[in-house]
Symmetry: C2
Subunit: 212 residues, 2 copies
Amino acid sequence: MKSAWWHAWRCNRCDTERASEETRRTLLLASFEEIHRCGFQASSLQNILKNTKLTKGALYHHFRNKQDIGYAVVDEILKDFIHEQWIKPLAQTNDPIQTLKEIMQYTGEQMTQEDIELGCPLNNLSQEMSSIDDGFRHRIEGLYQDWRVAIADALESGKARQLVREDVNTKQFAIVFVATLEGCIGMAKSSQDMEILQECGMGLMDLLETLR
Amino acid sequence: MKSAWWHAWRCNRCDTERASEETRRTLLLASFEEIHRCGFQASSLQNILKNTKLTKGALYHHFRNKQDIGYAVVDEILKDFIHEQWIKPLAQTNDPIQTLKEIMQYTGEQMTQEDIELGCPLNNLSQEMSSIDDGFRHRIEGLYQDWRVAIADALESGKARQLVREDVNTKQFAIVFVATLEGCIGMAKSSQDMEILQECGMGLMDLLETLR
DNA sequence: CTCACTCCATACCAATTGGTATGTAACTTA
DNA sequence: TAAGTTACATACCAATTGGTATGGAGTGAG
């Protein structure tokens, strides 16, 4: 039945459906945090449920199994993050180099001590699960691919505007850029030293400037 | 009792001590491989023992607990690897840039498909355990520190020989170099694509050349 | 010969794991 | 009103986990 406008006024079905989506979202966010803290394999469904005050009934109603939860975290939460933080700004910018530096600076400033300790959730999951579960690997590699393509495309369009040197290998640079960024965050994670992150960031910024 | 030379001829004590060290080494290597495959937390003592055909009695005779095994893997196996592969060659070289490129090339060529899939054991452990266990973190960070210092020192000595530009920030470069290298291996791991590793390697090689 | 010590095997343990079966309240549909 | 579906909660399960207690074979010391 199509919902007419007057159904918005107290449509019980809509209410419960919205509530259901909300609990699913709650489960998903709690799962993301648990996985971010402990890794996927060491993450415990008990802990997730403890934090949400929900039960296994709820969890296994919305997800088929633990693997399904992990996949959903990548497909929904991590994907959203990459798109909002990187891909959308890059798709709109006129000056890709400037935008890349701005995103780096912004995310660097937003980072708390805990963020540094926990590291990049995408990289964490990638390093842990890529060699163990192909479902994870394909999803994660897809995200990295989107990310790199967005950077390369932005740099190519920067060439057209003569804001990027013509001889730059944009595809290769995108690979190195993402790799270096993840590497830097990883270094900061193990050293738990903000200075290391900044030194790394500076190095990357310098590298970016060489593209002009 | 000091062992005189004639004790070498059938010293039963020495035999058993050597055998004991050997089983410890067997356990340690099997643990390293299991951890490299599954990560530390997901690694199973049962699997380790299954591969060695030893038992828990042996394992808990040589190690206090699972954590102790992980620490020993870092302190002995990973440390040895970094020192042999990177620190020693860098300490002896006259041309640090050339040596860095040679090590990269050599390790790149030696890498099997499985090595790419499993990634760098040091980085794997670092990303998994740094935020969870400070014992791991300190040990791993110590290794990274040694590694970076070796690179920076080599580059500094390269300055004296005018093989490295005077204005190079060697300490910062060492950080970026190690971060990028680990990032590249991580990218190759999730993409399972040798080409990605080579593109990354090329980028790093180019970066190295800018130091001359 | 006896005692103690090293090195390792066997058997067992509580705790935790992901997963399932069943129950039930709320709501929609017929 | 009766039947069916959704959205959970509760109770339970086998399997696996890291860890321990005990035992025994081999060896050196006294």
